[in-house]
Amino acid sequence: MFSWRRLQENSLFLFPSVILTLVLGIYPLLWMLRFMFYDYPGYGDELFVGLDNFERLARDSEFWKSVQNTFVFAAGKLLITIPLSLLLAVLLNKSFRGRNLLRAVYFMPTIISTAVISVVFYIIFNSYNGMVNQLLMKYHLIDQPVPWLGPKYAMLTVILVAAWGAVGNYMLLFLAGLQSIPQDLYESASIDGANAVQRFRYITIPMLGPIMQIIIMLAIIASLKGYESIMVMTDGGPIGKTEVMYLYLYKLLFPVPTGPPVEQQLGYGSAVGFATAIIVGLITAIYYFMTKKMNKVF
């Protein structure tokens, strides 16, 4: 049933979405796929160099250091976020007075700007006169100020801040998953004498499997991608201790206030951008195949 009128109407309604996606979503990707084979400082000549950028990437120890930092950061964030959010979700999956209020409090960090709250954390964790040290000293938990953003603790601090912003989100996702488990399973298990831990181990975990697989995948991708908070708190420092790969990429393209002026390297930056996307894609794929078993409800 073809008619010009229908075609016109369809085109009219899809036009804004299609044009924006093509020009601002697809075109930049194609641009990157082209320039990763070029030496291009952002102005003047575009010099085709074949795979030179990737050769350089393979030898770029600073980049691989940042990849390593990304894994440490992501692993640390996940190790705090996933168990804590699952535990909170399980505890909030019963009805009791104050439950909705607690849920709203835990979810609150997700509505606050990462950049803004990172500025606040930057002040709070200041080693010289930050509130965290002030409080810990006041109650004599530490004798002298802890350099939270110094070389030794900076990674721990940015992980804690990232976990602070993420727990509520995953708690809510787990809660949605928990609510899809039929209640009669728990009731019949209770009648058979299963205690809370057994019910969690033999009903919750297997029944939650498929949804948990997706939630953890989303969490992995998000923890590999996040660099806004690190950028605000440490700019990757001190001495590159918190430099993650997306921040390393950003610094190839744009200046940061604490750093030296950048000589833009758009060709090499394109190669790095491509490589980071491949790394994230690979990890996601490996995770997906390793956890295939979770997808089955036992």
């Binding site: 229908r6 075609l7 369809n10 309604f13 899809l14 804004p16 979405s17 299609v18 020009v23 601002l24 979503g25 697809i26 930049p28 990707l29 641009w31 990157m32 952002g42 909170l88 709203a104 409090v105 835990y106 609150m108 997700t110 509505i111 606050i112 700007s113 990462t114 950049a115 803004v116 709250i117 990172s118 500025v119 606040v120 002040i123 006169n129 002030q134 006041k138 602070w164 727990v167 989100n169 996702l173 949605a176 899809s180 939630i215 991708i221 991608k225 806004e228 950028m231 605000v232 997306y246 990429l249 393209l253 744009f254 200046p255 206030p257 930056g269 394109s270 951008g273 980071t276 996307a277």
Partner: protein, 290 residues
């Protein structure tokens, strides 16, 4: 087993339950306190003097420094930042809703060649991430279109990322019975007229919820406005202006002004959240149920 030992067993079971309940509550409250801590620190810090912030002190300010806000508002340019943030967020919200609702209408109600491709591309834009590299071609494009001297460049780029809103709205479209728009069409209402007379009003809950999301996203966005306003400080949003205060021109960091500025960014969202936190959670939870 005699009666006495039975009652001891019963009361010890009751004790165990009370203890475990107390432990759970302690854990829940401690977590809530840790979650609230930085926000409470920001609220109280914004009303303290700089010297009190430096030397510590209690949760509540010794002397309430409401002047911090007027100082931040006037001297530190937060009036400008707030206006920019509002303009950006409102424009992005309206743009995103309009673009996504129109596309979702056609995709949900009609068959056309390339539909699967369109949906596939929208879905994949949510997952591919090559980081900051895309900002460069986007920026060059905006320079060519002369959209880099205002916030319109940033607005267009944020609206172009409307895939999430599109999929949320598709979900809401499924709940609007097709009979309604078919009946309207039989009565002589055209495709476009049906859209804004019948569909949009019925879509209001979905538009409200995804509008909250789009607004929050734009309001909290940092890196995009940062890059686009580097040579144009007049266009900075709250997030960018605040983060730049870390490298103040004066020797000492003006912590009290930074706290006041952070509050200007956090408080509006917090107030909206207090009224509409169920809506925020509904979408997040819905995204996983599929």
């Amino acid at each position: 087993m005699n009666v006495q030992s039975l009652s001891i067993e019963k009361s010890s079971a009751r004790l165990a339950r009370t203890v475990s309940r107390a432990v759970i509550w302690l854990f829940l409250l401690a977590t809530a306190l840790l979650t609230l801590f930085p926000v409470l620190m920001t609220l109280s810090g914004s009303l303290k003097s700089n010297s009190e912030l430096m030397t510590g002190g209690g949760l509540l300010p010794k002397v309430w420094q409401f002047a911090n806000y007027s100082q931040a508002w006037e001297q530190t340019n937060f009036a400008r930042f707030t206006w920019n943030s509002l303009f950006l967020s409102i424009s992005v919200t309206i743009g995103t809703l309009l673009v996504a609702a129109m596309a979702a209408y056609v995709v949900d109600r009609r068959q056309f060649p390339g539909k699967a491709l369109y949906v596939g591309v929208q879905a994949s834009t949510m997952f591919i991430s090559v980081g900051a590299i895309v900002l460069r071609p986007q920026f060059d494009l905006m320079v060519k279109l002369h959209l880099n001297t205002s916030l319109w460049g940033v607005i267009l780029i944020l609206v172009s990322a409307h895939a999430t809103t599109f999929f949320i709205l598709i979900g809401f479209f499924k709940a609007i019975p097709r009979d309604l728009d078919e009946a309207a069409m039989i009565d002589g209402s055209g495709f476009i007229r049906t859209f804004y007379k019948i569909i949009l009003p019925l879509l209001a809950p979905g538009l409200g919820i995804s509008g909250l999301f789009a607004f929050r996203h734009a309001w909290n966005e940092y890196i995009l406005p940062l890059v686009f306003t580097m040579t144009n400080p007049q266009l900075q949003t709250l997030t960018v202006g605040l983060a730049n205060l870390r490298y103040g021109t004066s020797a000492a960091m003006q912590t009290h002004l930074m706290m006041a500025g952070a509050c200007l960014s956090i408080l509006p969202m917090l107030l909206v959240y207090m009224v509409a936190n169920k809506s925020f959670m509904q979408v997040t939870a819905g995204s996983i149920k599929g």
